[in-house]
């Protein structure tokens, strides 16, 4: 048992955050700092005809204005590839202000730089821009006729079509079939801190303080767009006010900040305004999904066909995948998953927490609930019965736990007493119901080799470093624990440093892979250094440990002791001082398993919800939620619980509140602020319980930690919708499930 790993320790960055001493990237103060502000297009389709800068320049305090007429051309055209792959990772294969074309509402058409933010805003308002515009195509309704089937997604990284067996034949022969169509509104991320970049040039060397989920991706992307060597660019991020996918890719404002700083020969801070955050870092796209499920009378699935239709940009075949979980979580010989796209006047959509999995599982898990009723089976039994021991390639799970999560959840939630009859439990104006859904989120080994460094000083203090970004997930705390555990030192002598490209590489913490890959590199760095020190001691004839086999030495609180006789030993500090060494350090690296690792790789979980539905007014109020998850090794249960609980709240929000749409006349997002784009407030948040099921995993890394950032959201909305059915007898095929959707019987269909 490690004295630190797996302990529910408080955040090491807590004091910095609550006292305001932690610096976010928009709080970096530099001598001569100038303020940049993006001006977004106020048409969604067309071109910039003219930009008259006279009044703006006359406003005073303006250092410079970038438009398509004077913005430098990018050195290399951006190519969209997810940042997890470790490549340059622009959010779309497009960079603005290179010509006069306008592809989407809010596309940057100018950057104004002034001596104050207010001055920049004033000058920006005085820019006289004229456009030629045409009717935009921005919604599914606008473009349905022009839909096409995508071949690949994510810049070619993923096939868009997944097929096995004979789905049509199997559906025709199934005893029971389900065929449902769903409509889902778009979502925006809305982290508390909008995207912000501070850029400073020192002759040819660029430093960026960027609010990001991965400094390395920023470095790679900006270097490529500007055509400068990686060695000339350093990216720093100490604190980030949330990401949720909006900072997983590198959006144009980051490079524009660097261009603006070069243009005005001063450091520039460029922050997105809240409304701009709806048009600058992608979104979860509006989508329609259709699912057909076939099953035999005894409840075995025979076929699943799941398809998605969504709007993408002019530049990329982007869709959050709708089939990665549904093809694997239940054994089914006949499977077809496909993605249909419409090219429209939007920016390229992007990762939004549980990207793909949250909505795909809503479709699948509400269909499974329908199936359970058709078959008169308990929905938990139906799921357990169909969950196989292997994935669709016949590979065993690296670790499973789905059935245990469902059963444990059933016990804790009180499922056994449930009467499945819908629409019969009343409580005042409310109809009450409960629902369940399964959750799964993939473990994706797309990243390159991960590295970390550990150093012990000769006073016994330690530094562990890797280039991870702390965007609220608790990485500083969890990696301090991993480092302390690996080195065998106490937490209070160890400092964990992150958020800087000058530190050893780790890839952007996206796709719920952060904890897995960072902990593996940090663990390996720490144990390498520990082994190095122990080897030094046993070979040092002045050491009390001299002559022992290294395996007979363990380290506790910075002291190496003989496991044979714990009174024999010495501290790291003693060893280093005696040998006149100021410090000792080691690099550790971790190479992820290959993509064709013969294992099915997922974090599994189960979601339960109880709702009250106003029987006249259709308003859904969640009463309690329970999530049970099997993420493998839990590095810090307190942090893990926060992550999972946050994910479940995102699910609640997606289920009931969050939905954006594009105004069809203007092509502009209808909601662009937190007054109108609703997310839950405390009063919406019910009693939420998070539980863990322990599973050992020796495939996913030396510590066996799988991801938890996103699985908490998967299935949460479906459990709520299934509970709404149980309460009212009405099936919900639309998100969010607003009052009118519930009153009118559930939408789509």
């Amino acid at each position: 048992m490690s004295p630190v790993l797996g302990k529910p320790l408080n955040r090491v960055d807590g004091p910095d955050k609550v006292t305001g001493t932690g610096r976010y990237c928009g709080e970096i103060v530099l001598p001569g700092l100038a303020y940049g502000l993006i001006v977004g297009a106020s048409v969604a389709s067309g071109r910039v005809v003219s930009i008259d800068e006279t009044a703006a320049r006359a406003a005073g305090g303006v250092y410079g204005i970038l438009t398509h007429e004077n913005t430098p051309k990018v050195a290399n055209a951006p190519v969209l590839i997810p940042s997890l792959a470790g490549n340059p990772a622009p959010g779309m294969s497009f960079f603005p202000m290179q010509d006069d074309t306008v592809h989407y509402w809010g596309q940057p058409v100018a950057v104004v730089v002034a001596d104050s933010l207010e001055g920049a805003a004033h000058a920006a308002a005085l820019l006289d821009i004229t456009y030629e515009s045409s009717t935009p195509v921005a919604t599914i309704e606008d473009g349905r006729a022009a839909a096409y089937e995508a071949k690949t997604l994510f810049g070619g990284l993923m096939p868009a079509h997944d097929e096995r067996g004979d789905v049509a034949g199997a559906l025709a022969k199934s005893d029971v079939t389900i065929d449902q169509t769903y409509h889902y509104a778009a979502n925006h991320h809305n982290p508390l801190e909008t995207g912000v970049t501070t850029a400073q040039w020192d002759s040819d060397q660029l430093t960026l303080w960027n609010s990001t989920m991965g400094v390395r991706a920023d470095q790679l992307t900006v270097a490529r767009l500007l055509g400068i060597p990686l060695s000339d660019i350093r990216v720093i991020t100490h604190y980030v006010g949330g990401g949720f996918g909006s900072k997983a890719m590198v959006w144009p404002h980051v490079t524009l900040a660097a261009m603006a700083a070069r243009h005005v020969r001063r450091p520039v801070r460029l922050a997105l305004t809240r409304p701009q955050s709806f048009t600058s870092n992608g979104h979860r796209e509006e989508q329609e999904q259709r699912i057909r499920v076939g099953a035999s009378r005894d409840g075995m699935l025979t076929a699943i066909r799941q398809e998605k239709l969504a709007v993408t940009s002019h530049f990329d075949d982007w869709a959050e995948p709708a089939t990665g979980v549904s093809s694997e979580i239940y054994g089914c010989a006949n499977y077809l998953g496909a993605h249909h796209l419409i090219r429209g006047n939007t920016m390229t959509a992007t990762f939004t927490r549980a990207p793909g999995e949250s909505l795909e599982s809503f479709t699948l898990e509400t269909a499974m609930d329908r199936l359970a009723y058709e078959l008169d089976m308990d929905p938990i039994e139906l799921r357990v019965k169909n969950h196989p021991p292997v994935d669709s390639h016949g590979n065993p799970w690296s670790s499973d736990g789905l059935a245990e999560c469902l059963r444990r959840g059933a016990d804790l939630f009180g499922w056994a007493d449930r009467d499945p009859t819908p629409g019969v439990r009343e409580d005042g104006h409310y109809l009450v119901g409960t629902g369940v859904a399964a959750a799964a989120y993939p473990v994706a080994f797309m990243m390159p080799v991960q590295r970390a460094r550990a150093r012990i000083f000769n006073d016994g203090s330690a530094v562990v470093q890797t280039g991870a970004a702390e965007f609220g997930i608790g990485v500083l705390t969890a990696m301090s624990q991993v480092g302390a555990d690996a080195l065998g030192v106490d937490m209070d002598v160890l400092r964990f440093e992150a958020g800087d490209t000058d530190l050893p590489n780790t890839t952007s913490a996206v796709g719920s892979m952060g904890a897995t890959m960072q902990s593996s590199a940090v663990h390996n760095a720490g144990t390498t250094l520990r082994n190095q020190l122990v080897a030094h001691a046993v070979n040092d004839d002045k050491s009390p440990l001299h002559g022992l086999a290294t395996r007979d030495v363990r380290v506790e609180s910075g002291r190496m002791v003989s496991t044979l006789d714990p009174s024999i030993g010495e501290s790291y500090a003693d060893l280093l001082q005696r040998n006149r060494l100021l410090d000792m350090e080691a690099l550790g690296s971790w190479t992820p398993p290959p993509l064709d690792t013969p294992h099915g790789l997922f974090t599994f979980g189960a979601q339960f919800a109880e709702v009250g539905v106003d029987k006249d007014l259709g308003l859904v109020r969640v009463r309690r939620m329970l999530g049970v998850f099997a993420p493998g090794r839990v590095l810090n249960p307190k942090l893990a619980r926060s992550q999972l609980l946050g994910g479940m709240l995102w699910g609640l929000s997606q289920a009931l509140l969050e939905g954006n749409q594009i105004d069809r006349q203007s092509g502009r997002w209808a909601l662009n602020n937190l007054g109108e784009y609703l997310v839950p407030v405390h009063a919406d948040v019910p009693d939420i319980q998070v539980e863990f099921v322990e599973v050992d995993d020796d495939v996913v890394g030396p510590l066996g930690a799988k991801g938890i950032g996103e699985v908490g959201q998967v299935g949460a909305a479906a459990a709520i919708a299934n509970a709404v059915f149980h309460a009212t007898g009405r099936r919900m095929n639309e998100l969010p499930m607003t009052a009118e959707v519930v009153m009118n019987g559930g939408g789509a269909g």
Partner: protein
């Protein structure tokens, strides 16, 4: 985000405030600023002079002859909501205040400012889309746009924006009076004449002259209001404008008939909506669910809806039936 150079003047007296605004056509009063500063930043309004009225001695709450209450225009929403005489005499008004905005906002927001708050119509607030209220004659983007939150009563072909206030719904039900001092002296305006429907001039929301300052709101003695209630229905449990809200105060006589009824609705009208038709339909009759439903039907007989907001009619009728059934039982 729009920023412009602006002059700020803190008025020391009512006369100074009125004189300063009257003298400059591009000026506006600034109270708590919770509407005004938002709209400035959004570029929706572009005054060049802000006249701050926060120092004026208008924060009082006092009894009037006849048992009513006079509320100073600068009294803050949170103070009014918790004032014992409001809680006792007009509990529905207190509830309406407490269900509005958030505690932080209510600590800043004034009663006078609340009467003048602007619609939350997103096309109005974006400062760019065609909008007759912001820019007369430019058109109404909401008519065929995203209009789920828009009004179904009191609309016109030129504007369908919902009036957002909660407490104003209570005040129209209570027949309050707005007292003003303007360049031409003092004035009293019955509250239902204070809120103007859009008709063909949606940009004109009140009968106030430029520079006319609200100094107080008089709420008369309304005994039936001692049992008044306000319920607010919305998508999220707190901190949101109403989808539909209902203020009601009702007295049933010994024979079981409705003797007195004050009913007003929020979230559905272009002005805080006094449900006169429903009141008339119910007075003298028992408040059975059927009668209430018929009264609600009468109120919404002229409702004009869009595909996105038509649910509000059913929603509001059901909310009225529920509210009056609960009050009468």
């Amino acid at each position: 985000m729009a920023m412009r150079p602006i002059t700020f003047f803190r008025a020391g007296s009512i006369d100074d405030a009125v004189a300063a605004v009257s003298a400059n056509p591009d000026s506006a009063f600034l109270a708590g600023g919770t509407t005004e500063i938002d709209l400035l930043r959004l570029g929706v309004i572009q005054p060049t002079l802000l006249v701050d009225v926060n120092e004026l001695p208008l924060t009082y709450l006092e009894d009037t002859e006849g048992g009513g209450v006079r509320i100073g225009a600068m009294a803050r929403m949170s103070d009014v909501a918790r004032a014992p005489r409001i809680v006792e005499r007009y509990p529905g008004m207190s509830q309406a205040l407490l269900l509005g905005a958030s505690e932080q906002l209510r600590n800043m927001a004034s009663m006078g400012g609340n009467m003048c708050q602007r619609t939350r119509c997103a096309y109005f607030r974006d400062g760019q889309s065609p909008c007759n209220k912001r820019e007369p004659g430019s058109g109404c983007s909401a008519l065929t746009g995203v209009n789920r939150g828009h009004a179904v009563l009191g609309t016109s072909d030129h504007c369908i924006a919902t009036h957002p206030s909660d407490v104003a719904v209570a005040l129209v039900a209570l027949d309050a009076t707005i007292r003003t001092i303007g360049p031409d002296g003092t004035n009293t305006i019955p509250i239902e004449r204070f809120f103007l429907r859009p008709e063909d001039t949606p940009s004109v929301e009140h009968p106030l002259a430029h520079g006319e300052l609200i100094v107080a709101i008089d709420v008369p003695n309304v005994p039936v209001a001692r049992t008044s209630r306000y319920v607010k229905h919305r998508d999220r449990v707190s901190y949101e404008f109403a989808l539909v809200s209902v203020f009601s105060a009702m007295r049933v006589d010994d024979a079981g008939n409705v003797a007195e009824l004050r009913l007003a609705l929020g979230g559905v009208g272009t002005v805080p909506w006094r449900a006169h038709r429903a009141e008339e339909a119910l007075i003298g009759r028992p408040a059975t669910p059927e009668n209430v439903a018929a009264a609600a039907d009468a109120e919404f007989a002229d409702a004009r809806t869009t595909p996105m907001n038509e649910f509000k009619v059913t929603f509001a009728k059901r909310a009225i039936v529920r509210e009056l059934s609960e009050v009468s039982s």
